[in-house]
Structure formats: C-alpha cells, structure tokens
Amino acid sequence: MELLDRYLQAVKFWLPKAQKQDITAELAEDIHSYIDEKEGELGRALDDAELAAVLKRYGPPVFVAERCLPQRHLIGPVLFPIYRFVLKLVLFVYLVPWLVVWISLVAFVPSYRAAHPGPELIKTLSTWWNLAFYLFGMITVGFAVADRIQAKSKFLERWDPRKLPAVRDRSRISRATSISELVTDALFALWWVGVLRFPAVYINEGARVLWTPGPVWQTFHQGFYAPILLLLLAGMAMACFNLVRPRWTRLRLGIRAAINGIAAVLLGLVLHAHWAEVYAQWMAVTSRAAAVPKTELLADWTNITIFITLLIAAVICFSSCLYHVFRIIRLNEGPQVTHKP
C-alpha cells in the first residue's frame, strides 16, 4: 500500500491545513472500500499495476484535492460581468487607441523610427505593456476585494428599480453635451485668438519654464487661423441651438458631420506636411535656470505629445464624421416607441 500512502500524501499537500486530516482520512476510507470491493471480486490482493489503475481512476492528486474543496474563485459570478465590462472599457477606450497610435508612428513616421533605432523601438512599447499589466492587475485586485465585500454585505442586492437610468432617446441631445461642447469650443476659440495663453510652470529648483509657439506652430496658426476659427464658431452656434432645440435632425447631423469632416481634413493636411518630423518645433521650451539637456528633453516630449494629440484628434474627427453620416442614414425622425405595460 506504499503507492496509496504516496498518493494520499500528494493529495494532502494541496489541501488547506485545517482540512488536511479530515479530507484525507475520508478519501483514504473511500479508496480502501473500493479496493476491498475489487479484491473481493478477484479473490486476491491487488498488485501494483491494478492499484495504480485504481488511483488513476480517482485522478491526479491536485485535481482530487481541488474537487474535495468548496468552489473557490477570485471574482465570483455576481461581479464577473461588471469586471469583464470594465476590462473591455479599458482595453478599447485606452489600450487599443494607444497601440494604434504607436503602430501608426512606427509604420508611417520615418523620423520616429530614426529616433528609436532597432531594439529601442520595441522598448518604447514597454510603456504600453507595463500600463496594460498594471491596469489589469489593479482592476482584478480591486474586483477581488469588492467580491469579498459583496459576499459579506450583499451591497449589490440593495438596489432600487426607480434609480435605473431613463430609457435612452438617441434623438435627444443632452443638455450636458451641449454645454460641454459650448464651453470647450469657447475656451479653445479664446486661446486660438490669443486671449488665453499657456501658463508657465515651475520645475526643479524653482526654474521657470516657458512654452512659446515654435516655427511650425506659427505657420500652422497663420495658415489655418480663419478656417479653424470659423469651425469653432460654427460648433458654438450649433451647441447654442441644440440647447434650445435638443433633438437631432438630419440637417443638424449633416452640419455636425461637415464640421467634423472639415476638421479631420485640416488636421490631416497639417499632419501630412510634418509627417516626416515627429519632433517638429510646434512649441519652443525655454528656461534660464534649468539645465539645457532637461529643457531639450521637455521640448521633445512636448512636441511629440502635440503630434500624437493632433493625430488622435484627426482620427476622432474622422470617426465622428462617419458616425454622424451613419446616423443620418439611420435616423428615425418619427415618434419614439416606448414599452407600455
């Protein structure tokens, strides 16, 4: 029976301390009873091969130990759908766009490749990988903790149907959306015409750092001053109108699609002109006290951030244009159907 003792010892290894003796003793008794029955049928003791076959029937020790314990999980079925939703949100709203921008830079911007030759290029992706790892890890740990709290307090069971969100009316323009558009466009327009300015910031040792428009930005600003201002004014006018008449019509969707489409084209033109110079001088960073290499590094980061921001803005404007065109096609201007009891 040495084989059986070895088997039970292996099972015991995977069991929690408090239940080791109890579960192993009961399992041993079950196996002994089965062996007794087999030996009774055969009229002799089992040999090693037959005993091994019996143990194989019971399964690998780790599986047997796991099956003998109550079901255990990190995130249970109650919170799992929410956990999955949050992970998907992080993946598609943050990590995938980040990766798309990185791939675009690598594929289409020679200066980016030149600035990060060979393995350096892969190293730039390590930020993404670390970010993904930390985000997924933190979310998982957060939900595992919430699962334990939920198991004790049952906080998810205290819900009120009256607090569920209202039925979504896709034709209605929310007041919050219109106000946020108006404020954003107004702030951007004020900055564009020079009323608002970049603030100076203070870095190490109290050194004052100033961002001033670089040559590329000045060319861009002069060349696109009027069209961008007109787009912003059109956006603000539309946001005001939407506040008064908060329903999408084909005309308004068309105007929104046109604004976004023109913005995408303008941004595309700018990016195309400076495609080969990812560190183009959009902004100049100056500081009297800060060390020169630090200022240059800050300038590089500023300029690549502007480049990536413009790239993302172009993609968003283009997608938004397509989305609004799609909505024009799908828009049902008739009365909304509601469920009645």
Binding site: A25, E26, E29, D30, R67, C68, P70
Partner: protein, 95 residues
C-alpha cells in the same frame, strides 16, 4: 437540474445512516452515479448547513465517517420532496 436532484437524493438516502462509499454505491445502484469529488464536498456543505450530522466510528477495523439526516435536514427534505412532487406534476402536464 442534476445538481438539485443530487441534493434531494443524498438527503433522502441519509434517512438511514451511511458512510461515503456505501452512499455512493447505493446512489449508483439507483442510477444516480456520483463522483467522490462531487459527493464529499456536497456532504460537507450540507453538514455545515446543519442538514446532516456526521460521526467518525470504527467499523471492520477501519475508521469511517458516518452521515445521517439531522432534524433540520428532515424538515428541509420534506419541503424539497413537496417541491419535487409539484414540479413533477407540472412537468407531467406540460410533457
């Protein structure tokens, strides 16, 4: 469905005191084969819920854990049986 039926079958079988292996054999003889990996956690759960009582005792020179239905277990078994009969009657009407 099988999981619910197993609970009912185990409680019903344990109206008579039995240990794990004989319980498993008895259920298999009635056509409800159950793996030890399913049975023992179920027995432990039912015991922790107060529906079963267990006791280690020596029989044929070996220590065995005997299970039997508790008083609360008897009440629950009656409720489950009533529910089972009601479902059976309803399904009989549908099928």
């Amino acid at each position: 469905m099988r999981r619910g039926c197993l609970v009912l079958a185990v409680l019903a079988e344990l109206r008579t005191e039995q240990y794990g292996y004989t319980l498993r054999k008895s259920m298999a003889d009635h056509g409800l084969a159950i793996e030890e990996g399913t049975l023992y956690p179920l027995l432990r759960r039912l015991e922790s819920q107060g529906l079963l009582i267990s006791e280690w005792r020596e029989e044929n020179k070996r220590n065995k854990r005997f299970y039997r239905l508790s008083t609360d277990g008897g009440v629950i078994l009656e409720q489950l049986l009533a529910e089972w009969r009601s479902i059976k009657a309803s399904l009989g009407g549908i099928l």
